[in-house]
């Protein structure tokens, strides 16, 4: 695979000077057209140290309109990055539609380096690469153009470069830690890279290996490759079978939501007793949480007027205001709209020790957006896997994730809507939209059942809450949450985290 990049290809300065002006003009023109297009361009620069990754980032910055291109080199994670799942920092650098991002030492760097240094085995490398393939597939499905460039140097070229830098004091500082390491472990790096490139050269995001030795050759090759890829993406599309859609349920749909006993309730006395006890427990657990390295993410979904707000208010009464945050999810902002769907949730992933409470959440994609047609079937169908992958990363990072669906009957909703309308200080809570959504009750029901089936995973199960009685719902949520926190935070009870 790398033999083709060990040919000593060169461009003399005459050819270089002849090629560059036209290339720069072309790249600028293409960049202007990308600005109006509805996709971002993500350029990955990877490869051996000294192969020309940072020089290439600088070059693209210089050749193109710097206002619409960003470059970022990822090194060791900062403290703030370490406090989030590993992919968080990559999500944060994803460019919006119309823009170009150049990423050095991106999601490939850590697994490849660790494998080359024999810190992880082939199985773990494959796991990491399969996560990468899923992530990239999802970016591409979202429209992104992914240009993956691998800069290569032969063992000899690599050695020569370092020897040359070492000769003079003025250049010796340029030899990085990475240089030394990649010289020492050159063969291992090469084997790892070969394996990784093969497994991640997918049809939609293949690698291109570029010989890194000659600066002029490298620059013109990168420029031409990028221009070619953007030009192709601007023009060519093809017809594809649209992804399958869930089948409507069989007649007499006895769904998982139908199994809930909406008659469940508690007496006023019991409610107050259990609420008080639960809040005391939660407060104590909150203190444990702060001492731990963990954080908590709560998701509340459910029908309009099912009592999400009231339940959340009962929870936060027990919490220290410095450590929790309630996040009501409404329509995305302009900035959020030009990023992949989950971006707006990634950006809010909290640091350790915090509690985030979502009043509605990323599940909007497979609920309201599905039913109202804001997302295409292709978009919400792939959202199930994207959401499962997202939540898996949260849980892997040690975040305690708890998801509640508050369930009421259609009749109860009607009663609550009417009550809201009749009560002056509640009237603002009910809008035309609520009435319109209500008409689509059965479509929402199908979507909710589908969602629970596809996203109730072992690492992030749904808790279904019978919410016909508000009191019952509040107590159930509070006590379930306390149980889950206890299981996760207090190991002495032999309560190991669910796997």
């Amino acid at each position: 695979m790398f033999e083709v990049a060990e040919l000593g290809r060169k461009l003399d300065s005459e050819d270089y000077d002849a090629a560059v002006p036209g290339l720069r003009t072309e790249l600028l023109a293409l960049q202007r057209r990308v600005l109006d297009a509805d996709f971002p361009v993500i350029v990955l620069l990877n490869g051996i140290d000294g192969g020309g990754r940072s020089e290439t980032a600088n070059l693209l910055h210089e050749w193109m309109d710097a206002r619409h291109i960003t470059a970022r080199a990822f090194d060791r994670p900062t403290d703030s990055e370490k406090a989030r799942p590993p992919y968080w920092r990559y999500w944060m650098e994803l460019p919006p539609k119309g823009k170009i991002a150049v990423l050095i030492g991106n999601w490939y760097a850590t697994p490849l380096t660790r494998h080359a240094l024999a810190e992880i085995d082939d199985g773990r490398l494959a796991l990491a690469l399969s996560r990468i393939n899923d992530f990239e597939a999802s970016l591409v499905a979202d429209g992104a153009l992914l240009v993956k460039l691998w800069f290569h140097l032969s063992a000899k070229a690599h050695e020569k470069r370092i020897a040359k830098l070492a000769k003079r004091k003025e250049t010796r500082w340029r030899i990085s830690e990475g240089d030394i390491r990649s010289q020492k472990h050159y063969d291992a790096y090469r084997r790892t890279a070969e394996q990784a490139l093969r497994l991640t050269s997918t049809a939609h995001a293949p690698w291109t290996v570029i010989e890194g030795k000659d600066r002029r050759y490298r620059e013109v090759t990168v420029g031409r490759h990028l221009a070619h890829a953007i030009g192709h993406r601007l023009h060519e599309t093809r017809e594809m079978p649209s992804p399958p859609r869930p089948t409507p349920a069989v007649a007499d749909p006895h769904t998982i939501l139908d199994t809930l006993d909406l008659n469940l309730g508690v007496s006023r006395d019991e409610y107050e007793r259990r609420l008080e006890r639960g809040q005391a427990r939660l407060n104590e657990l909150g203190q444990h949480l702060r001492k731990s390295e963990r954080s908590v993410t709560l998701v509340f979904e459910g029908w309009d007027a099912a009592g999400k707000g009231g339940t959340i208010r009962r929870l936060i009464k027990a919490l220290d205001a410095r450590f929790y945050q309630v996040i009501p999810v409404a329509a995305p902002t302009d900035e959020e709209r030009v990023h992949p769907y989950l971006w707006r949730f990634w950006r809010r992933v909290p640091r350790s020790g915090r509690i985030s409470i979502y009043d509605r959440s990323w599940y909007g994609r497979v609920l309201v957006e599905r039913v109202e047609g804001f997302a295409t079937p292709a978009e919400w169908m792939r959202a199930y896997k994207e959401i499962n992958d997202f939540e898996e990363q949260l849980v892997e990072h040690g975040i305690i994730l708890s998801k509640f669906w508050l369930h009421i009957s259609a009749e109860e909703q009607l009663r609550r809507f009417r009550e809201r309308e009749a009560t002056p200080w509640k009237r603002h809570k009910i809008t035309e939209e609520d009435w319109r959504n209500r008409e689509k009750w059965s479509l929402y029901e199908v979507a909710a059942n589908e969602m629970i089936g596809r996203t109730s995973t072992a690492c992030a199960p749904w808790t279904l809450v019978e919410a016909q009685s508000k009191h019952f719902a509040r107590v159930k949520v509070l006590e379930t949450l306390c149980d889950q926190l206890e299981a996760a935070l207090i190991p002495t009870k032999k309560n190991g985290r669910a796997k």
Copy 2:
């Protein structure tokens, strides 16, 4: 994920009788339309023993036109299957376009069972699932409709079923080994399945979990699901960005093929001496091979008139005719045309102890089919990964794979063409087509360089052969092959197989 299939859903016989006639009519009508469509339907039936997989296969056979639907249950591999890479038997059951295949215990069975029984760890499971995802993605890209049904039983329902069968002598035989095992390890199976379903529920081939307990409910659900999926596939397409294409090389293309020194030659004497010695060595190695469990696959590609045939004839002179096979690759047959591209090569994967010599090969996809436009860019772009995955499976199975590119200059080709035309007994070897291909020399050159770069992997590297001198080429191929066989077959020389 499985909670939604533990609801005890039932259909009474009245509803069942009302639903089935319409459903069967619909399925038959859809099946007729698939016959004329250009895609196959692959139905995977998986899940717990006793969940209704074989009953469902029988049912579909009964409900649909049996001439155009096949069912196959995979059990332990037969001897003939064990003599090939594990996926061979799945490839052999892939339906042609227009047909429906129902596969039980397919590519999911082995990794899932082994993981549930703790024979492989999470990393190995992930590796297996990532191979599955690649395989399925390639089937879907090729047009196939993949319908993946998972039959589930709760622990209680599973236990009940076995207890009921055990009660009477007449039904006791129905309890399978698998039943006993899945009862004993129910929780482990469930956890494994949960993990696997989550990782392989891709947007284009999602799983559907079906409650297996009630026969009537299950049958109608399967029927409706299949009808829905086929109906959707017949109608809906969407526009997708076409996959990226390789960038034309930078001016002054100093390619890997350009590095070959076409002046290399050998004297007549030396040729004969080395040929004879090489053939003796090869013959001896052939005997080693037969004693080993290994087989050999040789691939010859190169320019028209580069000397592939002559070289192959020198090799087989040293081999026992019972153990080798020369496979000239021409245009695909009708049957091959309605299967995925690599199917015709999978079907020829030899048993152990054999030598297969390909005169042209699966690389046609990225050479002639690319240049002549017989394959779309989307098809040949994804072929690189498909070929690498294919070859990896061959090598993993212990097949010794050796690939030769025979290289000559355009002038030398012209000389040989003219010579062939001038020689009465060689004239048949040169056709109009050869002259036409010659006009596209530079396009073939780009394709060949691209091919070498993308498919010269650590586990299956290309050997580039300077073939301007036929003698030199023959000797180089023969000696390289002997070295490779020796390295692979004779461990005493400390020659472990390249990894």
